[in-house]
Each structure stands twice: as C-alpha cells, then as structure tokens.
Amino acid sequence: MADVSLRNVSKAFGDTQAIDDLNVTIKDGEFVVLLGPTGAGKTTTLRLIAGLERPDNGSILIGGRDVTKLEPAMRDVAFVFQQYSLYPHLTVYENLAFPLRSPSRNFTEDQIKARVAEIAKLVRIDHKLENKSTKLSGGEMQRVAIGRALVRKPSIYLMDEPLSSLDAKLRGDLRLELKRIQSELFSTLLYVTHDQIEAMTMADRIGILAEGRLVQIGTPREIYTQPANLHVAARLGQPAINILPAGLLPADAAPAGTKTIGARTEHLTIEKATNGHADGTVDWVEHLGDQNHLHVTVKDRKLVTLAEPDTAFAKGDTVTIRFNEPLYFDGAGNRIAG
C-alpha cells in the first residue's frame, strides 16, 4: 500500500478536455470516492493512474515514485472495471489466480491456492470456485472481479463504478462488504461513482469532479454541510437541495452579497398557516412509505422537502416556511461561510 498523487494532470481526447489540471492525493490506507456526473472525467482519472491512458501534462506518483511513463504492468495497481471483465473461458478459481500467475511474481502453486482461498472467502464466492465464470450471476461475477483485484496487494485499488450494473439490493449488500473488506485490509482505494449514497456511505473522503476539475475534496460530512459551491451542494442530499433566489422567503441572517439560498430538509421549518399569513401552498404529498416528499409552491417556485410518514399536511394546505441556518451562495455560486 502506498499513497498516490496526481500533480497538475491534464488529458484531452481530441477537442474534449477530459481532465483539466487535476491535483489530488490519496493517502495510504484511505478510501477516496470520486463523485461526479457522466463525462466529469472520473473514469479517465482512474485509467490515468492505472496507465491505460497517458496524461498530456503533469505527473502521477505512486508511493513517491514517478510512474507517469510506466506501463500498466509496472505500476502495481489493481483495477475493477465497470463491466464484468472476467476471463470468460476460465473458472472462478483460475480467474482469481490469474494475476498471481504472472512470471514476475514467483508464487508457488501452494501459495496461490492459499491466497485464492482466502480472498474467495472474503468476497464470499468460495462455494463456486470450480464454476465457469460465464455461469455466474451478475453479483457473483462482480464479486469475482473485485476478488481478482484483492488477490494481489497492490499500491492502490482502482474501482470504476463496480456496483452500477447490479440491482439495488445487491448493490446495498456489496457496498457494505466492500467497506468491510477495505477496512479489514487497510487498503488504499480510489472508487469512482455517480451514486451519492455509495459515496456518502463508503468514503473516508469524497472528491467532487466536474468537467475534469476537482471542485472540492473532503469528508462526506464536510462535503454535505459545507459545500464549496452550488454544484457540490446539488450533488448530495435526497431529495435534492432547494435552490431559491434570495428574497423569496424572509431570511434575516443572510450575509451581505447573498444571491441564492440553498435549503435542504433540515434547513426548513414548515408549519400550517394561521391568521391568514402564508408563504406557500402544498402542491402534492408524495408517499414513499417510510417518509413523504412534500412538494410546496412558493410564488412561482417549487420546493421539495421531507415530511414524517404520518404528516398532517394535505394537498392545498397553506403553510408558513422559515429558514433554519440554510446555505448562502453569492452571485458566482460560491458558498458564503456564515
């Protein structure tokens, strides 16, 4: 295990600037999640570290060693692809043993056997070692793919949306397993996703990527409570943060220069209107079972917030809305610390 740094890395594909002057350091034993929409440069970042792409500018350091010009094989990384990239004609056992059979590694057959058994147990596939990899379910295939990465002890594990092609239940299970495995092995892991829940639940630190730039990096809590700008604020939270123009609702505590106010559920106090004064009208109550989404219209704006499952609100109710320490943003969209 080792720390990994990207220094001023840029990469363009034709006219598209995939990565633009990226600086990031992943510390030894850290689980970092890169979060961003499609085309933000997440996968390219991983491929650059693995050596499957070469940067146009900048350098990549693994454990203090400059690997910018090295072949993938010489970088000592492990990669889990978004697709099930198993070797289809090999058994689960042979797939897991494949990286260990490289002549440069000099493992004996007994060592390989022991290591594969250990990892198979870890990713819970030990009961299917003799199966052909094509005869597995999607979840099993991806567990084998993760296992094939874990079977080595590389400087860093790189994972490219490994759970995105699985169904919701399996994704939840594997998310927990992956976090458990990572903390057991104390491995350095860079994980790419566009799923905010994966990012929030697994990451030691989250890096928010947008258009090839690192917008903000920090603990999930920091990213959630102190987003650097509107873009970051909008990436996290369910339902999504409400972006409202300043002045729509009374906000006495707003610092000077506030143009936009970002309000999550916890930033809003909603009560039924009394004595004729009202800020908005309940548009719709969306029943999700364990909770409700409350859709409220304020003048020409719509606002979505959470409500208790036994909420007393009904469609057509007039309500008063008060901010409770919301997020303030200036004209450029950057957050004003308040």
């Binding site: 094989a73 492990a78 990669f79 692809f81 990239s85 070797y87 289809p88 494949f98 990286p99 490289s102």
Partner: protein, 332 residues
C-alpha cells in the same frame, strides 16, 4: 381461466361477460385479414401458398435427385444406355468402391488436399486477421485488398493460375526460379507428379485464406478491449494474453472457418478440374473428379451414385461430429 387442480372453470358470471364483451370488441376492431379477403382462405393456407414454390424447387432439385441417386446406387444403370435392362445388384457397388484401390487413392488425394489447405489457410488467415486487428494506419484498405481473391470466380482463378504456372511464360515459375535458381523448365507445377498436388493447394490457399481471415477477424473483434486492459493491469505479457485470452476466445470462430472450408474442399471440383483435371495420372484426382470420371466419362451411373452417397454420408457424418465438438468449445 381454469382452476388448475380441479379443472373446473372458476370464472364468475361477471368476469365471463366482461371477457366476452372484450373478445367481441377485439373482433370488431380487428380488420379483415388478407386471408379472409382472398376468398375465405385461412392464414395457414396463405402461408403455404407463399412457401410452396421454394419447397417445390427444393424437392425437384435436391431431394428428388438424392432419393433417385440412392435408388440408382443399388443398380447397374448406365445413363448412356437407357434402353438396357436395369438390374438390381444390391450392395455390390458399395462393396466394390470400398475395396477399390483407385477410390482409396482418390480419398487419399482428397484428404491430403483438405488437410493442407485447411492448415495453411487457418494459419495464414488467423495471422492476417491478428495483424489487421492491430488497427494500424490503412488497415481498412488492406482488408479490402486481401479480400479480392475471394471475390473472383473459381473458373477465372483456375485459368489465371494456369498461366502463372506455365513453365515458359508463367510469372509464378519465373519468381520461384529467380529466388531459387532452379531453371523454369524444371518447375512443372501442373505436370509434375510431386508438384501438382501442391499447385492446387497453393491456389486454393491463395483464394480462400481471405475468407478464413474474415471469420477470424470477426472473432478477434468480438473480444472486448477491457478484457485485455484487465489482463494488462494483471501483468499478463502479450504472449500470455494471446494464449489465455485471444486464442481461446477466438477458437469457436476459427473452428467455424475450418468447418466451412473443410466441407467446401471435400467436394472441391471446379478449380482442380480447370488446373489439372485430376492429372498428371491421377495424382490430383480428388474424390469429386473421380466421381465425374465415373459418371460422365465411363458412364457407370449406378456405381458413381453409390460413390456419391458414400461421400455424402462421410461429409455429413464428419461435419456433425465436428459441430458437436464446436458446440462444446463454445459452451465452455
């Protein structure tokens, strides 16, 4: 809507009326089918009318001659003497063929031809496909160039190579002589007992390697890039990637190409007939040439029918075994 255990209908009155009404509405909404318009013919009948010409042709051209040939193979019928009495000779034709040294020679010549053409075409075809798959500059252009021989008619190819093989004026002989120093008059590609079998192998390989290449290329292109990338990160050398990814994953395609070429070359006739006509002597007399000689030079129709049936069964049987193996490889 039947109760599965008791078999009694469990439809209540209301549901059945609803279903009836729905069926009526559906019937009203459905326009008259073509069948109804064509004077009350059923859909099935119309379907038969459409496929009938094909079936009639198939019966007339393939099935009927096959059955007739089977029947003739048990007789001493000669097509050039239609008035002679046809005698049933039982299995005599078959036993004569299987005990005849000449037919075994023909089978050997065929086996030699099939074996070497398949081996060369597979090796060269796969190598070419592997190179083309590297996607170097202008690979599309070279693919087209390589495919040209395959697009020519076998008759053209046969005549064209007869010129190339000419001892006096042939380009092929000239080039071979230029590099080896052997005088052109000693390179008798088509009339030397030793060289003639190789002459036809060379031409067939020249013509059909592109076909094998095309199928192999399809196989190579079907291997996703990320498998190679995974292997690269896993520190597999190019050599290991080839043996553990490329070859096993392209194998079903290679086998398919071998099957197609094998069946084709087992019944090879046109090109060999044009190049050597089975000669010199009978050194390049592959099975189909023997068949033609028996049937249309010696006019032993019954005998040649039996030979044709034997060939058919052999190819059919071998191809079937091969397809079974192929399926097993594919399902690995």
């Amino acid at each position: 809507m039947q109760d599965m255990t008791s078999g009694k209908p469990v439809v209540t009155d209301t549901t059945s009326t609803i279903l009836d009404r729905a069926a009526e509405a559906a019937a009203r909404a459905t326009p008259d089918t073509l069948a109804k318009k064509v004077r009350g013919l059923s859909d099935r009948m119309v379907a038969w009318i459409f496929i009938a010409p094909t079936i009639v042709l198939l019966l007339a051209i393939n099935i009927f001659p096959l059955i007739w040939a089977i029947q003739l193979s048990f007789t001493n019928y000669r097509a050039n003497r239609p008035n002679e009495e046809i005698k049933n000779v039982g299995l005599q034709n078959y036993s004569r063929i299987l005990n005849d040294a000449d037919t075994w020679m023909a089978m050997q010549a065929t086996a030699h031809f099939v074996f070497w053409t398949i081996l060369l075409q597979t090796l060269i075809g796969f190598s070419l496909a592997y190179l083309i798959d590297r996607k170097f500059r202008g690979h599309a252009f070279w693919t087209t160039i390589i495919l040209v021989p395959m697009m020519l008619s076998p008759a053209v190819v046969g005549n064209f190579w007869r010129f190339l093989y000419e001892p006096q004026i042939g380009l092929f002989t000239y080039i071979v002589s230029f590099f080896t120093g052997i005088p052109t008059t000693d390179i008798l590609m088509l009339s030397s007992v030793k060289l003639a079998p190789w002459a036809i192998i060379i031409v067939d390989t020249w013509m059909w390697t592109p076909y094998v290449m095309l199928i192999c290329l399809a196989g190579l292109r079907s291997i996703p890039d990320y498998i190679y990338e995974a292997a690269e990160v896993d520190r597999a050398s190019n050599w290991r990637q080839f043996w553990s990814i490329t070859l096993p994953m392209a194998l079903p395609f290679i086998m398919l190409a071998v099957l197609f070429r094998g069946i084709e070359n087992f019944k090879m006739f046109d090109m060999v007939n044009l190049l050597t006509g089975g000669g010199p002597g009978s050194t390049t007399e592959v099975a189909s040439i023997t068949l033609k000689r028996e049937a249309f030079e010696k006019w032993r129709t019954g005998f040649s029918s039996a030979f044709a049936i034997i060939l058919f069964v052999a190819v059919f049987g071998l191809a079937n075994i091969y397809v079974k193996v192929l399926n097993r490889v594919k399902s690995r």
